[in-house]
Amino acid sequence: MNNILKYFALVVFLVGINSCSEKDILDLTPINNISVDASFSSPSLIESSINGMYNAAAIGQYNSTNINGGRGYIWGSAFVQQGDNRGEDVVNTATFYQLTYTATYNPNTANNVYYWIDGYRLINRANLVIEGVTQAVADGIITSEVGDDYIGQAKFMRAITHFELVNFFARPYNETAGASHPGVPYRETGVNTQGEIDSEILKGRNTVGEVYQKVLADLDDAEANITNTTLTKASRNAAIAFKTRVYLHMRDWDKVITEGKKVETEYALESDPGAPFLNSYNNTESIFSILQAETLNPGVNAALASQYKRRTLVCISPIIWRDLDWLVDDKRRLDDPANPASLVFTTSGRKYTNKYKDVVSYTDAAPVIRFAEILLNMAEAYARKSDLVNGLSYLNQVRDRSLADPSTQSYTGFGSASDLVGAILKERRIEFLMEGRRWSDIHRLQKDDLHPIDGIPAKVANGNPAAAAFELGTPYTGPFGVDAIPGNDFRFLWPIPQDELNSNPNIDQNPEW
């Protein structure tokens, strides 16, 4: 009996060991994640990889540990909020954008750091798309037509993101002859192996001129290859539209006009200036906008409608609100709670933008570029070429639709090209108010021959301005709680993030940081 039990115990022992095989216990593969090597292995996964690239544009990661937990860096909302708060046409009322607003950032402050980090995160996804799609075409998984469209879209995203970064982290194009001063590294290799890390890290900052060249080359390729025509993904027209922006910064007026001409008949301004925002996915003038869904958006801490409307963290600055060139009865001042197309709302006497409306599910598209900008880019190019007729005509196209009575209020002529350019520049501030466009104008107009801006203009003090500060009739003359920063001050540029400097020996910080 005892022996039987002993043998029984031994059998249990052996069974115990052998019932659990190494295969079941150790050869485990992820349940939540597809191997990165399989990301381009079928047409549907390739399409998903394209969407993954746009995800990086729409959401980013910011400091989240969740890969989809970002704050709209770089194209989902941050480019609007940072672009606005670097300028003087908004007032930051709370702490949220204070470091950007008061230029008290440093190489560790999150706003500028994640602009860089999430920008390059998107660029790497674009580069991996280019390489993955190229291989998939070679392997016959998708046709070259489909592949070219995808590659064109990736090049578009790569180009506009580098362009955005170079405007924040480098001096303007016209700073030196030939734009030979430091820009940002232009990344064209998808990095997913140690070897690629080792070779890419050797590449330091390209010059601003090189960055512009590469941006344009990529946009040309995008124009040639993209067949997509939907608003929320890169299209041929979006590439052209962006080129008008790039050439404007390069002060290549002829090219602005050439590019603008290519698409000027493909879009039309809505008759109501509120329409592009009331129907942000379905209107005749948006050219490229970023998709935001109720289940995936930059969230309560970043979504445009959350920050600018529900939480009222940033208001319109009395500086632009009280500008006499912005007519009192201009439709862009419409503040009627009963009219959803209103572009302004009031709380405690303060004026806020109503361009972003969905305060519950944050589904407003983030407007990256729209037709009005092409028109004003062309207007400025003509004006700077002293073609006052065309310049005036393009300016009026944009301005007239917002006037209460165009027949009496429309501009009829300017005494000089400079006056016309001045009116166009003012019109940009009004038309694109709180669309993130202000910084790139401040940036490109440094040392301008006609209307130079020296550094960052003075701003209204951080905090809630008094209701009286919004009373129309006289221009706002102060007080300015945030002093102007001269153009030669090191704070004009954002510092390269300390994280980058710590792990990249081949990149130099901007001077004096």
């Binding site: 005892n2 002993k6 249990v12 115990g16 659990c20 216990i25 485990l28 992820p30 349940i31 939540n32 994640n33 191997s35 990165v36 090597d37 399989a38 990301s39 996964l45 998903s48 990889s49 969407n51 993954g52 995800n55 990086a56 729409a58 400091n63 540990t65 702490t95 204070q98 470091l99 008290t104 440093n106 190489p107 560790n108 790497n124 996804r125 991996l128 990344r187 997913n192 890390i197 998709l291 109720e294 289940t295 995936l296 309560v300 529900r310 939480r311 009222t312 519950v360 599910s361 003090a461 951080n462 905090g463 809630n464 090191f490 300390q498 400097l501 792990s503 990249n504 990149i507 940081w513």
Partner: protein, 1034 residues
Amino acid sequence: MKMTRLLLLVGMICTSLAVFGQRTITGKVVDDNGEGLIGATVIAKEAPTIGTITDFDGTYKITIPGEVTALVFSYTGFSSEELAIGNATTLDVTMTGGVYLDEMVIVGYGSQRKSDITSSISTVNGDDLRGLITPTFADQLAGRAAGVQVTTQNGILGEGPRVRIRGIASVNSGTDPLYVIDGMPVYSGDLGGYASASGLGDLNPSDIESMEVLKDGAATAIYGSRAANGVILITTKKGKEGKAVVTLNSVFGVASPVNRFDLLKTADFITISNEKRTNRGQDPWAIGNTYDTDWQDAVLNNNAFQMDHNLSISGGTDKTKYYFSTAYANQDGIAKSNSMDRISIRTNLEHKLTKWFALGGGLSISRTAYTGLNTGANSLSGNVFNAIRQLPNTPILNPDHPTGYNISENNAVVGQWDNTDPVGDNISNVAYVLEKNVFESTIQRTMANVFASADIVKGLNYRFQASVDNPNTGGFLYWDPIHGDGSGSNGRLQNSTDELLRWNIQNILNYNTIIGGKHSLGITAGTEHQKERNSNFFAVGTDLLNEFYNQNIVSNAYAIQESGGGATEVGIISYLSRVNYNYDQRYFVQASVRRDGISKLSPDNRWNSFTGFSVGWNISNESFMANMSDVVSLFKLRYSFSSVGNTEIGSYPYLGLSGASPYGSQNGIAFSQFGNDALTWETSAKSDFGIDLGLYENRFNFTFDYFKNDIDNLVFSEPVAPSLGVPFNRINKNIGKSINEGFEFGINYDVIRSSKFTWNVGANLTLMSNEIVALPNGGADIIGGSSTNTSIAPNIIIREGESMNSLYGFQYWGVNPANGNPVYIKANGTLVQGDVVTSRYYLFDEANPSVLGESSTLSAADDKVILGNTLPTYFGGLISKLTYKNLDLNMVVRFSGGNKIFNSTRRGLFNQNLNNNGTEILGRWQSPENPGDGVTPILWASSNTFLNLTSDATTRFVEDADFIKLDNLSIGYNLPSVSAKRLGIAKLRVFVQGQNLLVISKYKGLDPEMETSGVDINGTPRARVLSFGLNVGF
């Protein structure tokens, strides 16, 4: 391989014991419970060189010369016994008297006599925790064992304490010890849901018989890859032979915050707020002094009721032993909306089928329900962040608002009342939020094991054990749509399920023998297979139909729906063995080898062997010490060396992965983890030298250890230049080295030992240091340390040559007496002042303070320095246990220090927005004639980020963390047994007790233990608990 090992063992069993001599006596040595005593010494009285040691079941056999008339039996902790032999051939003896000090100590996969142990193990008796009201048993390990540092970082129920055994053994991997309950490695982290739900909270502390803390390499090596952070072995109570013992413990207590913030009252608040504005040339902010509200009342409970009841029945026969307990605990937190409710049942059963074969098992079922709240350190509705910023001149309630609470017209923030501006920092009315919002976690947890134990041949035991740990957590979250966190989505409903399942199968052979009377040999060999699958899913509804829907997610009661989830699996296979040998209880050697294979690493790298080795010399058992045995009862030297591993490195850290990454509503995937299939084990080489000394029959015990942990191949997520765009800008690599080194001292002294009066004092002290030896990227600093928390990371750094996570920031000089500007010291020693008017830096000349010098900078790249280490360099405890007649008095005092804290909460109390401040701000600079405390600069509205440098640490808020605490004081009264019998019970003890009674510290925050990685950031105060209870035995 496995068979070979088994055959080897079987072969050893067959080795016969060599015996020779003229006369042979056999017998059995038992204790007063009748349990055989292993390793008792039996010596021939007239021939002291002849002796033997009892076997594992207490039996002995000794061959003696004819002239010997008596045998002397001794066993550490017992009075020795001398028995005349006469004509007997069998002599049984029962050892009595003295204190049974030399108990068996649970070690990995077995147990050893305490005197045989050559590694470093601290034991905490379950009785020491009796009657304490405690969220988790682990909280109460604090101060009780050298080298073990337990920190309860806040007063939130459901958040487990931070336990560090001999420091931090990793940078990016886990730093928690392995918890093993009755042989089963259990889940100890947060178990899911929406209220904090520590995995340590499910175990009823009353069920604990003992806890063994395995500290050095030799003790932990048997746990191989999971041992780098130490191991805590928990043994639950089992039945003992004898009649049924019924015990009832009941404790009732009230908890209150140990400390509160010293906030401005309305009068000072108005002065300060308006001075912020007028200094800047702006109109006043604060108007109205009708109210003087302490908003801390909105988030803290002063008298939180807590109770704990436990009923157990245990007993057994020589064949069957049983233990059954049921317990109920209910605790209200000192944070409003925080509570815990736990009901648990545990049974342990063991039955001897035959003399050599036993079966048994244990089953524990518990249901622990937590309610929680938003405690986010920077959340607008985070309880402490919010309360300390509220305006004291505003009420909490407003009958005119539809909700009845003081909320702004558009419901966005708390109402500003008569003040001219909305409250700063966009905070909500936290009282409304706490009243409405719901955070819940309910854990249903089953822990079960079955075992079979067979004594195959004498000395050889085979044990099979299969265990399972299966916590299932249901979570529920509701955010009110009107105000607070839910207003951004018009309300939120969320339900979740976390299913965790871990099984573990062990086959263990234990062989013990004594050869030739003096050679004790113990062998342990076995296998362990473990696998876990952890999955969760959740459903979310936002944009709610109505706030009526606040108890569960209800189909179609919301406009937007979302769901999510995921699953991970981990498996480990191990082969383990340990050999320990001692010669004559004098010379000890132990070696262990464990080979682990783990699913977390690539097939090429997943197997690794971990070894442990230790030696000991018990000098007190040497013959030359015999004449000192009255004085020196124990004098042992120990040395150990081992290499162990750390596997808390994520589930699939070596693979290149993509993750779901949709664009709007379109499916997407993208690169989410950089692969490195060369990734291998993080190893920790631990060495330990120890001395154990016992004097006067172990009345005085002293333990000393020197330890050193060399951690190599640290799995580091190496920072990669962000401009390369790889996921998280990190790659998992084996780079980096660090060292923990230190000394531990422990003493235990029975000051008074008499039948009526006993007094025992124990004390322990640990001195230790940590140094980062090597870092990736050529030793580049890691700013942000190991933290991903954005409130903490900017203040710390990992730098070669420094202690891990050191504070890093600017040096503060003080206030410019001429203009109130803050003045800092640049790295090169020059002074710069931050001009509040322009937010720019200018040189500061002490001799000429009224002049703004040349324009300068305070550079984050160049001017930051190490501001202090965040890891305590010394800590320890003092425990006094005193009984006098029927009274007992117990006390635990704990101390720690040598570390610095960056008090970020205190910085928040200098907020320059329209928010309340701490009273320290009254010392601000007002004018050259009235320069204030010299530390607090001029007030300047809305300049928080610049004036207080909210993105950087500065020495202005760096403080010493040293403290002494009276952790625990209890007074009990035992009813005399005569009286008890009259009541029909066996015994009755009543007691009153205070926990966390007194803190002595210069720290200006609430409590110097409320730090995470050296940063104090808006934690809920810890709790002080006063309780009353009784223990009844039937």
